[in-house]
């Protein structure tokens, strides 16, 4: 089985890695690029164990690659719990793992996982006697915590800029860009906040379905629209309800405190992984994360790769991997049609019928995956692999809308979505929502709803016959 390797970057790649730099990983000099996430450089260098979970000391590695899980946390330049998938490499950076005694690689406290049976009830343990309880408390305290407190010099508080805006759009994916565009065309000033350094949202992970081209097109289209103030690399951190609404956003150098009359939430969704035994083993990714890693950053985490899923994006990713000469152990899917399958068969990739993952195996990184047919508890297929791409329903990123008290609705098909009416208005009259966060299922739908939200929002600020007609015509 092959470990991680770098491949040739794909043409049209929006993720320019920048210049090569050298950094320190636990005393070893490693190479990376100054615009490439630390997590990617580490994976490319063959680092698979990024950390360990606090309770069972199970191996942890990058999973989401989009800055919303806790798999890639490391200590960087004396600061604990740094999301290395969101941190570009810098020359001379000192990077270390945080948990494990005597070392992250060999953590004796993993014994807790190996010997504690089906459950470790932290509520009841050591309650037999009060002095034992006190003693245990001291020990448990020492074992807790993800990392040592910061040893870097205290940071001077960053400047905070406070201003007012008519409309703040959160998210520069398809929906957010469409909303921003509609509002700009209606003559309104829009502040558009985007957490990533690039616009495009999930289009950036849609290399396989022409996502990158779409990003370029959208960027060009927006050049002619005035009134939109873009802030990339500036994640929104909180929305406080009230009149006006308060949006707090920021990055390393500055914090924004914005009083907004209207909000348009286009925050998308978080990729999720399915549940199965040992689903937390490093080496298991969702299709978006894998797309970002392989297509975006040109790093293959380990071969062979198994891909499981039914979506066009997932199968498209599998065929792209085959095109890139990445070794595939198999594709597991319920789909029979799909152009992608033709391509895969042409490349002699084995295709298996619909199955679910029962169990993953491996020590500190994935070794093989066990599958079973959908209605059977008994596994009937084991595939040796170092990477597994597994699909699961996404979870809409409803948090910011929820901060402001917007109503959400639950579906076992995919988490909580923000509830909107026919005009994309949430239960808070000043807040609109569109895209995957409001339940859109495709880029086309997200764009349409984004446009609708923008127009409806414009209308709510100032009634206008022409805008009303445009809205009706959608």
């Amino acid at each position: 089985m092959a470990s991680a390797r770098r491949i040739k970057p794909i043409e049209g790649n929006p993720f320019d890695p920048g210049e090569p730099v050298q950094f320190q990983f636990e005393g070893r000099p490693l190479e990376g690029y100054d615009n490439e996430p630390l997590a990617v450089a580490l994976l490319a260098a063959g680092v698979g164990l990024f950390g360990r979970s606090t309770k069972f000391r199970r191996p942890r590695g990058p999973v989401c690659l989009h800055g919303h899980c806790s798999g890639c946390l490391m200590r960087v330049n004396g600061v604990p719990n740094v999301r290395t998938c969101q941190t570009p490499c810098r020359s001379g950076m000192v990077v270390e793992r945080q948990i494990g005694w005597p070392s992250a690689g060999l953590d004796l406290f993993r014994a807790v996982d190996l010997f504690s049976g089906k459950r470790l009830d932290h509520h009841a343990m050591f309650t037999e006697s009060s002095w034992l309880n006190r003693l245990a408390g001291g020990v448990v305290r020492r074992l807790s915590g993800l990392g040592e407190p910061p040893s870097a010099d205290p940071k001077k508080p960053v400047p905070v800029s406070r201003f007012q805006a008519d409309v703040v759009v959160i998210g520069a994916g398809v929906a957010g860009l469409a909303a921003g565009r509609a509002l700009g065309e209606c003559g309104h000033n829009v502040v558009l906040l985007e957490a990533e350094d690039h616009r495009g949202g999930r289009l950036l992970d849609g290399a396989t379905l022409g996502g990158w081209e779409q990003v370029g097109t959208l960027k060009t289209e927006l050049e002619s629209v005035s009134g939109i103030e873009f802030h990339v690399g500036t994640p929104a951190l909180a929305v406080y309800p009230g009149d006006p609404l308060e949006v707090v956003a920021g990055n390393e150098g500055k914090t924004f405190w914005i009083s907004a009359r209207r909000l348009v939430m286009c925050t998308g969704a978080y990729e999720q992984l399915p549940l199965f035994e040992n689903n937390d083993l490093p080496g298991i990714f969702g299709p978006r994360a894998m797309d970002r890693l392989v297509c975006g950053h040109a790093v293959v985490p380990g071969e062979p790769v198994v891909v499981m899923g039914d979506r066009d994006e997932t199968l498209g990713l599998a065929s792209r991997l085959a095109e890139l000469e990445v070794k595939l152990a198999g594709v597991v899917t319920a789909r029979r049609d799909a152009k992608a399958l033709e391509l895969l068969r042409h490349k002699n990739v084995e295709i298996f019928d619909e199955r679910r993952i029962v169990r993953a195996h491996g020590g500190k990184w994935l070794d093989r995956v066990e599958f079973a047919p959908p209605d059977s508890p008994q596994s009937d297929l084991v595939l040796d692999c170092r990477t597994c791409v597994a699909e699961a329903p996404e979870a809409p990123a409803y948090e910011l809308a929820h901060h402001a008290g917007c109503r959400v609705s639950f579906s076992s098909q995919g988490g909580y979505t923000v509830v909107v009416n026919d005009e994309c208005q949430t239960s808070n009259r000043s807040i609109f929502a569109a895209g995957h966060v409001a339940g859109a299922a495709s880029a086309a739908e997200a764009e349409r709803e984004g446009q609708r939200a923008g127009l409806a929002c414009a209308l709510s600020l100032k009634d206008d016959q022409k805008i009303r007609e445009r809205l009706k015509s959608l």
Binding site: P80, N81, S144, V248
Partner: protein
């Protein structure tokens, strides 16, 4: 839900459950507890887990001493870890007036057996590495104060009381209290009614609403208090640190998070539980000022709960004349949790007529009419 009980406790927070717990252990199990939300819904599930004996009034000190003793046994008694860690409480006084008042309270605490010491800023810096004592006149420190994890204390007491026969109803709202000829006869809820001759009002910030249902006007007012928590880090902060100038407090939890809040004199009385940026800004500013190394520590979450405040900062306990059977156990402000074990036991003994206690005269509702109030000075948050 039972349709009759010897005693109904309104409020399934730590105070109400502590009473139920002790009553049950003393043999009285014909008790119904009514909680409007999930266990830990109210202040009992939202506080910072601080447990101190540094108080300015004898009664509070006495209750606190007893409660600390009881907290030390609670994990064993209930089979639920509350992770009580006696890492101490460090108070910072920034001017001569506060310092003098602090010294007086420390002397009182010493007289009652609490080993608090007045210490210099330099000594405080040795207790907390990196502490910024610029502008600090003097400090007080008691090593036997501490912090715990509040939720399991609530669950533990509920579990024991429940096992012994107390009925605990969650997600049940009290809608009325029937009184006939000055005698409580029934508690009405949205899930049925319970006939009873004795009702305990331990509803925290909702106490004034509950009291009104029985025709009683309490002077309690709810105030939002906000709190935040950081990422979990390895242990580096032993005591709870609190600044008496602005009521800032923070400590490190069992899991390694820094947890704390700050008082806001501008906060009006309300039932607001939304978070505010104002709090975040003020708390971060204070944290960086007191312990600069916190500047790089990441905040995970902020939330809010209520302090059930009374005009003198002391609780309202006991009977309410002329009613029979309506007992108050509320108004604990920001220190209900830490006094709950002792209060629950004392109230249980009193209800069972085993033992009377002066706090029921000291802290009765009528004291405001009599003008016999003594304000608790050492409040934070």
């Amino acid at each position: 839900m039972r349709d009759r009980a010897e005693l109904v406790i309104i409020g399934g927070g730590i105070v109400g459950l502590s009473l139920a717990y002790h009553l049950a252990r003393m043999g009285m199990t014909d008790v119904v507890v009514i909680e409007q939300g999930y266990l830990c819904f109210g202040a009992s599930g939202r506080n910072g887990g601080g447990i101190r004996q540094q108080w300015s009034t004898e009664e509070n000190i006495r209750l606190a001493i007893q409660s600390v003793r009881m907290f030390k046994q609670l994990a064993r008694e209930t089979g639920h870890n509350i992770w009580f860690r006696q890492g101490g409480y460090l108070f910072l006084a920034r001017d001569a007036e506060t310092a003098a008042a602090l010294e007086k309270t420390v002397k009182l605490q010493n007289r009652m057996g609490v080993p608090t010491r007045m210490i210099s800023p330099a000594t405080a810096r040795r207790l907390v590495a990196g502490l910024n004592t610029e502008g600090v006149e003097v400090c007080s420190y008691n090593s036997t104060d501490g912090v715990l994890f509040p939720w399991p204390a609530v669950w533990g007491m509920a579990a024991v009381a429940g096992k012994l026969g107390v009925e605990i109803n969650t997600f049940t709202r009290v809608t009325g209290i029937d009184v006939k000829d000055r005698q409580v006869v029934k508690v009405v809820t949205d899930r049925g009614a319970v006939a009873t001759q004795r009702v305990v009002n331990a509803a925290g910030a909702w106490s004034w609403q509950i009291a009104r249902m029985a025709g009683v006007e309490l002077p309690n007012k709810p105030y939002r208090h906000e709190i935040l928590v950081t990422e979990p880090l390895k242990p580096f902060l032993e005591p709870m640190v609190s600044d008496l100038e602005d009521g800032t407090y923070f400590s490190q939890t069992m899991r390694g998070e820094i947890l704390g809040g700050i008082a806001d004199p501008q906060e009006p009385s309300s039932m607001e539980t939304n978070s505010s940026f104002r709090f975040l800004a003020r708390m971060c500013n204070s944290m960086v000022r007191i312990l600069p190394r916190l500047s790089r520590v990441k905040i995970l979450r902020q939330w809010a709960g209520y302090y059930d405040e009374t005009p003198d900062g002391q609780p309202i306990l006991g009977r309410v004349e002329p009613l029979d059977g309506f007992i108050q156990l509320n108004g604990f402000g920001g220190h209900g949790f830490m006094l709950a074990p002792a209060v629950g036991k004392i109230a249980a003994e009193w209800i069972l007529r085993k033992r009377d206690h002066q706090i029921f005269q000291r802290y009765d509702l009528d004291r405001f009419n009599r003008g016999e109030t003594r304000r608790e000075q050492l409040t934070i948050g």
